[in-house]
């Protein structure tokens, strides 16, 4: 317990000591060890680099640091050599000797590991010059990639727990609530309720026992910023929770983490243990009367537990079924006591607001939506990964500047925002500034920030069917509108994608959507019709093509697949279509164009269309 910090002076002294430790090495190789990079061999790369450094006797001058998710998952595994900031991507363990001998020892670049700018085709040596990063404003993600997530010392060196010290020693609980309120921070989990107001409700609620809960049950398919935040900067999330606990006078806190995130669980547990050893969690933090216990609760796999009243049931060891509100958790939450529940990203915003002030924070973003938002950018965009931009940024900036544009030069069709509760924005809305209000206006929601980019190969009816299938399976079954209404809508969508739809189905879908939205018990049910409504709003012609013409224009729905043909003028006779064809329908002689498609044998799978490098395979009624 000699590490225990009992005063501001001790925290500052420790910070200095840690800064000296970090400055003691001449060069530092950071290796992204988030889940994405691990999936691509990031741990093996880290081990190979450590081995190489040791082998060459450089251990006293060079450090290899595993970091949390650096966000550019498309290019995994990522390696950055500091202080020069040289960025290598797609690194394999076999590259370790080259990196160490060339870059560490001789200060030169390993050319083929550098990122190539897709436009200029120039190699970009430096992390800070890469468009994926320069187009972002990283506040919540500021430390991702700069610290070892399992080291409390690294966090303290970068001003970690300074905000907690300020909140405990210089501010009153009411003052903290006021600061968060003035900053204009809104919940990052979906609905966008003002965080300060939520805290105030819980603070003002009657009762001696109060709880703080972090909702890390990130269940929206397509969103993974919460996982990355806990993996990369677990102490920042914890510090935000501790400040919230002080503000509402809670003495116990829970972090409810999704079962599918084992690394996040490991890192947050380690963070709590270390913070406890340092006296930042426990009795009398910083010598004040503030005491807090923090627990981790692992979920057991149920999407609906991301809904706050269901999450409370789950922590109590029950089936995670939502209940009607009011009473809100702020009045009657965990075991009937006032409880403040926020999402991971919301808490991660708190320390910088306390340290840098509400005024600074409120200067970022739009009139109604302050600060930055992290989006998980995935789908058919060139750069997949995590993107932090100020509220009010346009979709075009996210997709084309940060995201590097569409993959394989295909056309942007829509972006799906907000997961199963959200909607699709078509190309004509690319220039709308994204904030809570504008998204709602256009039929999508901020949700947790998943952005899935769809190109012209996506079938919008099938996308709607996919989401309804998801919510139908995840419905807890408590209320009828959700239990029966959603599967009924899904069945209509299945009918349409299988070629058995009728025009009346469109009105039926709209009517059912209205019913479910207005009568379901919880947020899951109330928002479940959104994917159908938004695709109907912007892509009704695609629904009609399925029903009236019997064709799925993008060729996704097998029963309605359009015919394929080969344009004799464009065919070069390479034979790739014949090699890809499972049915033996694409026929011809290599080098002797054109190839032909036998319409009797063709199963309309589209394999030839996908492989043709010359765009000679055509799809659709005209073929």
């Amino acid at each position: 317990m000699s590490d225990r910090i009992t005063s501001r002076a001790e925290l500052d002294a420790l910070k200095q000591q840690e800064l000296v430790r970090l400055a003691a090495v001449e060069q530092r190789i950071t290796v992204c060890n988030g889940t994405g990079c691990r999936a691509c061999g990031g741990v093996e790369v880290k081990d190979a680099l450590i081995e190489e450094i040791e082998k060459r006797g450089l251990s006293d001058r060079v450090e290899v640091m595993p970091t949390g998710c650096q966000g550019y998952c498309q290019r995994a595994p990522l390696v950055v050599v500091e202080p020069a900031g040289i960025f290598y991507h797609g690194v394999a363990p076999e590259d370790a000797p080259r990196i160490v001998s060339t870059t560490i020892e001789r200060g030169e670049l390993v050319e083929d590991l550098l990122l190539e700018d897709p436009v200029t085709e120039e190699r970009i040596p430096h992390h800070d010059d890469i468009r994926f990063y320069t187009g972002q404003q990283r506040i919540v993600f500021a430390l991702n990639g700069k610290i070892d997530p399992t080291s409390i010392g690294d966090y303290i060196a970068h001003d970690g727990y300074q905000a907690l010290a300020k909140a405990l020693l210089e501010m009153t609980p009411d003052g903290i609530v006021d600061e968060i309120l003035r900053a204009g921070l809104r919940g990052r989990g979906g609905a966008g309720f003002l965080t300060g107001r939520k805290w105030k409700f819980t603070r003002d609620a009657a009762g001696e026992v109060k709880y703080v809960i972090c909702n890390a049950d990130e269940g929206d398919p397509g969103a993974f910023m919460d996982r990355s935040l806990i993996e990369a900067t677990p102490h920042a999330v914890l510090e935000g929770m501790l400040i919230a606990a002080r503000a509402i006078s809670a003495c116990e806190a829970y972090i409810y983490v999704r079962a599918e995130y084992p690394l996040a669980v490991e890192h947050i547990r380690k963070a709590i243990d270390d913070a406890t050893d340092f006296g930042l969690v426990g009795e009398g933090v910083f010598g004040t009367d503030f005491s807090i216990d923090v627990h981790v609760m692992e979920g057991a796999g149920a999407f609906v537990c991301g809904e706050e009243t269901a999450l409370l049931q789950s922590i109590e060891g029950k089936r995670g079924m939502p209940r009607p509100r009011p009473p809100f958790p702020a009045q009657s939450g965990l075991w009937g006591h006032p409880t403040n529940i926020n999402n991971v990203e919301t808490y991660a915003n708190v320390p910088s607001i306390i340290l840098r002030g509400a005024k600074w924070y409120a200067g970022i973003g739009t009139k109604t939506s302050k600060g930055t938002k992290i989006f998980s950018l995935t789908g058919k965009v060139a750069n997949n990964g995590l993107v932090e931009v100020p509220m009010g940024t346009t979709l075009r900036h996210i997709v084309y500047d940060v995201g590097g544009g569409m993959r394989d030069g295909r056309a942007f069709k829509a972006a799906q925002l907000g997961g199963p509760s959200g909607g699709c924005l078509p190309a004509e809305l690319l220039d709308v500034p994204i904030d809570y209000e504008s998204l709602g206006e256009h039929g999508a929601i901020m949700g947790s920030g998943g952005v899935i980019v769809l190109d012209d190969t996506a079938c919008m009816v099938s996308v709607a069917r996919y989401f309804l299938d998801f919510t139908a399976r995840e419905s807890c079954g408590k209320c009828l509108p959700c239990r029966v209404g959603i599967p009924t809508m899904r069945d209509i969508l299945i009918r349409i994608t299988e070629g058995e739809g009728e025009l009346e189905d469109l009105d039926r879908l709209r009517e059912l959507a209205k019913l479910v939205k207005s009568s379901a018990l919880c947020g899951l049910g109330q928002t479940a019709p959104n994917p159908v409504l938004s695709t109907l709003r912007y892509f009704e012609d695609e629904y009609r093509a399925h029903i009236e013409d019997g064709v799925c224009p993008s060729g996704v729905c097998e029963a309605l697949a359009p015919p394929y043909a080969i344009d004799p003028d464009a065919c070069k006779g390479c034979g790739r279509c014949a090699a890809a064809c499972r049915a033996g329908a694409a026929q011809g002689t290599p080098g002797d164009p054109p190839y032909m498609i036998d319409q009797v044998l063709c199963i309309r799978c589209g394999a030839c269309f996908d492989v043709c490098p010359f765009g000679a395979v055509t799809r659709g009624a005209g073929s």
Binding site: T35, G36, R38, A39, C40, C73, Q74, A76, E218, G219, D220, P221, G222, A223, F224, R227, A259, E260, Y261, P262, M297, E298, G299, A300, G301, A302, F303, S314, I315, E316, G317, K318, R319, G320, S376, T378, G379, K380, N384, G385, Q416, G419, G450, I452, L454, A458, V463, Y466, F467, F470, E474, C476
Partner: protein
Amino acid sequence: MPDRLPDELRSEIERHAGHPESLIHVLRRVQETVGYISPGSEAFVADRLGVSISRVHGVVTFYHLFYTTPRGKHTVRLCQGTACHVGGAERILTALKARLGIAPGETTDDLAVTLETVACLGTCALSPVMVVDDAYHGLLTPDEAVAIVDQVLEEAG
């Protein structure tokens, strides 16, 4: 049957005696140790934590992570998240079902492999993604996915 639970697990459950709020945690431990939750295990847990068997069974059947039948030696979990869906996860699922001869949620007769689908693994940048035991495999094609499963089956003998 209750007496089949290993002693270590029994004493761990004992520590939660009289604490119904520990139910999910305790069931996770049973699941991890034994591989599934039998009626006997449910009865034992209900008795020790002081709740009804029906409540335990209700929780077991509510959450995806709990299984009431034995599991395969290896688990293949194929992501069906949005990014994986638009990236062709359905075709991978078709290929895996054909290779293993089982549907999602089922286990091969020789208890070698359990096939599962999961709503989202949160590694969307690598879609389509499959996790075999604890190893992630990303950017998959149907052929690659089958090859990975073949290798697992070969190693399993």
